[in-house]
Amino acid sequence: MLGDDPFERLAIPNAMVAVDAILRHPRRVMFQLRQPVAGRLIVFMILVSVACSLVYGVVAGTFSGGSQLWIAPVKMSLGLMLSALICLPSLYIFTCLSGSQARLTEVSGLLSGLLMLMTILLIGFAPVVWIFSQSTDSLPWMGALHLTFWFIATVFGLRFLEAGFSHSQARSRAGFYTWVVIFVLVAVQMTAALRPILGTSQTFLPQEKKFFLTHWGDCMSAGESSGNSRR
């Protein structure tokens, strides 16, 4: 049971403690999300997620430089928050249908935890991204690298969410797994909806709609034909 360990009952007073807790004692975060003051913890986690995604975005923006130094972080942070916002209602509904006793605040908190864990892991990957951003001109390669790191970070984030879900007395996990597929699809489509994140463009947002697989395919073809596709 959550809260059996007295350590889990210790309040999380600031963002740094929240970061430490989600890495080392995720059960403490899960327990605190069930308390009346969970709102403050959720705000901390969202703020950390925004800050970390902005930092990672700046590092990603160094690939193209120039205006991408602010466009990439803004798009990454925006994309992440929009994906979460779009998927929050479905997560809540699936959680309820699974027989879980979690309320909307707790579900929102678990989703914020997923975002925070994802983005702090991305910060861990940032030095690697920077080295490759400075070394290569290949857009498909950098895109694949970012997607790989995003995927790894998402796996850890989803593990946290699943652990939280398992403590909510849900009878079945089918709804949760369905939601995972939805979340991943929304997030990858966001890479096409907010394109270009790594490369450059005349406009902030794209002028035409594209499915993410078409967008990735176009990036691969452009990379192969141009050789130098940074610009």
Partner: protein
């Protein structure tokens, strides 16, 4: 004089240490241990790097003697944060300092193994004719030298990691966690380390360029793109 006598004793104690002792050092004195490990890395890989570079020229020996420890220390620093995050996430109850010290322990052991293999490497280097005379890039002796030097590095790396596994077990809450953490650390260190080595190249001999610390193409392309392209050429010539 006393310090000079203490160094072999320290190395001896380090090499003979059991996992409990490593665990104790990492837990109680991570900074002291880190300083020792950094010194061992600089010394061990520095000697081995110098041997590698000596095939070409004394200046290349100096450069490679600096670059090889630099590659390891940059990899450790670059992945320090990530390694520190991965450990607790995969079930190991360690702090950032402890995870950094543990990674350094593994690299330090590998470096000492490399230092011990340096005389053998020197023997091989000594016996291989330089690229300017009988040996060409396609010569079997050049291939053998490259392979032997790489095998020594791999052997040292494996030894370092095998010694690290029991140390990690001391912190683990379940049996699978240390293996997972070690594999994760290996993967990320290999990934970044390969690229850092790519940036810091040449280590042995670039026949098209004079002796220099880092080649002019240091930030052009990546190790993995080159490997992928080479593999692609093999499959679709």
């Amino acid at each position: 004089m006393t310090a000079a006598l203490a160094i072999p004793k320290l190395i001896d104690a380090f090499l003979h240490a059991k996992s409990e002792a490593f665990h104790d050092w990492v837990s109680r004195r991570p900074m002291k241990l880190a300083v020792f490990c950094v010194a061992a890395i600089v010394l061990g890989t520095g000697i081995y790097g110098a041997v590698m570079g000596s095939w070409r020229a004394p200046l290349q020996a100096l450069y490679t003697g600096i670059k090889l420890p630099l590659a390891i220390l940059l990899t450790t620093a670059g992945n320090g944060l990530l390694n520190g995050m991965l450990a607790p996430l995969l079930g190991l109850n360690v702090t950032f300092r402890q995870s950094l010290a543990a990674v350094l322990v593994s690299f330090a052991i590998a470096s000492l193994v490399l230092a011990a293999l340096s005389p053998v490497a020197l023997f091989l280097v000594w016996n291989t004719p330089p690229l300017t005379s009988g040996t060409r890039l396609t010569s079997p002796e050049y291939g053998f030298l490259q392979l032997a030097l790489a095998v020594f590095v791999a052997l040292a790396g494996v030894t370092g990691n095998v010694r690290l596994l029991p140390v990690l077990r001391q912190w683990a809450q379940n049996a699978a966690a240390p293996r997972k953490v070690l594999l994760a650390w290996l993967a990320v260190n290999l990934f970044l380390g390969s690229q850092i080595c790519w940036v810091l190249r040449p280590f042995i001999w670039d026949s098209k360029r004079p002796v220099e610390f880092i080649g002019p193409e240091y930030f052009q392309g990546s190790f993995f793109e080159t490997v992928f392209q080479a593999a692609w050429r093999l499959i679709c010539p």
